[in-house]
């Protein structure tokens, strides 16, 4: 194996890792704040892709319009879900919300199947990103470069928002002690609704971005769902920095795994997770006993 090949594989790992990070951002924000394991995440991601399809293919808008509008639509759906269903279960053991969102996942998936058909829909690369970029050691499609950049930008943005802004501080206060935060005069249930909406919007955005490079179909979210759960578990549930790190590691692991033993590369992810759980049950950067 020459240098360029190894570089290229590592870079492919980075691309895959970015997709994992992108996918797990919405999940991490929602878990890290509300303690909700959002199984509907994959379905919201799929809804994002279908929303992009509707905006670009059926309504003939530009891809950039889809990038801006679709996350808002999915975020709004998330807000409705939180307000009418998920928020009612916060006081109960956390697994009830896991089961609730699991049900919502089936409902959304089958609903889309009924509306758009079970076959999946075609979605092409947007033309302005359709070319290839030469990086010196390899040539990659521009769209992949775009994914890496937008993921980096989004991850940084979310982290800054949660850690450095006033609203972020309120969110963190709500996570640590929602009753006190409520007593101090913030309407914490509205903040939680907003956070869920934001997480849903991030899932939807991931769907829009992934639409051109994935097969857009009713079950597209299901395929990535468990892998993004692994990323979140390995990173330490709720830690944004942790899931970025874990996403990149898992991405590299899969691409390096393909070089050596192709059939086992997906299984490798789960073996890696088992090892992390043995050595460090809380995950790479997780807080101990967080929403446990």
């Amino acid at each position: 194996m020459d240098h360029n090949f190894i570089f290229a594989q590592l870079f492919n790992g980075l691309i895959l890792g970015s997709i994992y990070v992108l996918l797990s951002l919405g999940l991490t924000v929602i878990f890290g704040t509300l303690g909700v394991v959002n199984f509907a995440h994959g379905a919201l991601y799929m809804l994002g892709a279908y929303a992009a399809y509707s905006v670009v293919k059926l309504l003939n808008f530009h891809f950039v319009v889809a990038l801006l509008i679709c996350p808002i639509i999915i975020g709004f759906i998330g807000i409705l879900l939180e307000k009418f269903l998920i928020s009612k279960l916060y006081k109960l053991p956390h697994f009830y919300n896991l089961l609730l969102t699991f049900g919502i996942m089936f409902f959304i998936q089958d609903g889309i199947k009924i509306i758009y058909g079970p076959e999946g829909v075609p979605f092409n690369l947007p033309q302005f990103l359709g070319g290839a970029a030469n990086l010196g050691f390899m040539v990659i499609p521009e769209y992949r470069l775009f994914i890496i950049l937008i993921t980096g930008f989004l991850a940084l943005g979310v982290w800054l928002f949660i850690e450095k802004t006033k609203l972020g501080a309120v969110i963190r206060a709500g996570t640590d002690d929602s009753e006190t935060a409520d007593a101090l005069g913030t309407n914490i249930s509205r903040v939680f609704t907003l956070v869920f909406g934001m997480g849903a919007a991030l899932s939807g955005l991931a769907g829009v971005i992934a639409a051109p490079i994935q097969d857009v179909g009713p079950l597209m979210g299901m395929n990535y769902l468990t892998e993004s759960f692994v990323v979140v578990i390995v990173g330490g549930m709720g830690s944004i920095k942790g899931s970025i790190l874990a996403g990149l590691i898992v991405g590299e692991l899969v691409t390096v795994g393909i070089m050596f033993w192709p059939p086992m590369s997906t299984t490798l992810i789960y073996i890696f997770m088992a090892v992390v759980l043995i050595i460090r049950p809380r995950g790479l950067m997780g807080r101990a006993a967080f929403f446990e």
């Binding site: 269903l85 956390h94 609730l100 009924i114 468990t226 759960f229 578990i233 789960y270 446990e292």
Partner: protein, 310 residues
């Protein structure tokens, strides 16, 4: 399920009658067998979910291991039926030990996520290992050897064969739940710290309950392989893990008979709906949402509290 002996006598008589004629009521006989198989699975699952309070979200793994273990030993080893079932159960239990050991280190949703991830791992192994498992085509050609003089080839005979295992499982389940061991599990569910402080090791008891439920799942899986003459890959996937949680939840977790009835009702409902429409997943999702939002104690338990008092 004991206590008032007069009521429970009638209850048991009614249940026995119903189970005796069940294959003649259902649209086809194999459906009745399938109802019993999932009832065994759900009852065993209730020991870990309802009684110990651990939401395992990867129990398909043990069902699938039982099914593949039994199926493979019937095909390749030409094992007698009972030995094959035993091999299925042993495979489930042997894998449940390490997975359970690693998973019970965390509580609540962490436990759920970890068990799910391990189940996915097994799913992917079965998916990729085509030469052994048949991959996504499933494992075909599982035979049903005669059991001594009994020909299990007939669907009706197989139903009564499964019924025997069902009855044994229910007795075993009731024994486990009403033993000091079962009470300790409930104690762990209610207050783990207190259980530890009076000298019970939560780790040991949780692991035991996890493995016991894997035992029942493995038995159910083995019977399923016999019934279908085939092991589908979906016996290992997330949908199956979810189905079993819903069965226990809808029936009323922590009651044993609730999950049994929940499983039978759900299997019947699924069959009726999938033959007439193609919106089963939509309906399943709705059922999940409704049961989590409104009757977390389970339909049957709510009914029992209102109309029966035994």
């Amino acid at each position: 399920m004991k206590i008032d002996s007069k009521n429970s006598f009638w209850f048991i008589l009614l249940a026995a009658l119903l189970l005796g004629v069940l294959p003649f009521i259902t649209p086809y006989k194999a459906l009745a067998s399938q109802m019993l198989i999932f009832a065994i699975f759900a009852m065993g699952y209730d020991i870990v979910f309802g009684y110990t309070g651990l939401l395992s979200f990867g129990h398909a793994a043990y069902f699938g291991l039982g099914a593949y273990g039994t199926g493979l030993s019937l095909i390749h080893l030409s094992a007698p039926t009972l030995v094959a079932l035993l091999i299925g159960i042993v495979s489930s239990v042997l894998i449940a030990f390490p997975i359970g050991y690693l998973s019970i280190r965390r509580r609540g949703i962490y436990f759920a996520m970890t068990t799910m991830a391990f189940a996915q791992m097994l799913y992917f192994i079965a998916f990729k290992w085509r030469s052994l498992t048949g991959g996504d085509d499933g494992l075909h050609g599982v035979p049903r050897p005669h059991l001594g003089p009994i020909n299990l080839g007939s669907e009706l005979t197989l139903y009564y064969f499964i019924l025997v295992f069902f009855i044994l499982s229910v007795f075993l389940g009731i024994r486990i739940i009403h033993s000091p061991f079962g009470k300790t599990l409930e104690c762990l569910r209610e207050n783990e710290d207190r259980a530890r402080s009076i000298g019970f090791s939560p780790t040991r008891f949780k692991l035991m309950s996890f493995v016991i439920s894997a035992f029942f799942a493995g038995l159910a899986g083995g019977l399923y392989a016999l019934l279908q003459n085939f092991v589908p890959l979906y016996s290992l996937n997330l949908d199956t893990s979810g189905d079993i949680v819903l069965m226990a939840l809808i029936g009323g977790m922590g009651t044993l008979y609730g999950p049994i009835m929940g499983a039978m009702a759900l299997v019947l409902l699924k069959d009726l709906l999938t033959t007439s429409t193609n919106i089963w997943p939509l309906f399943l999702g709705l059922l999940f949402v409704i049961s989590v939002m409104t009757f977390r104690k389970g339909v049957f338990k709510e009914l029992k509290e209102r109309f029966l008092s035994f």
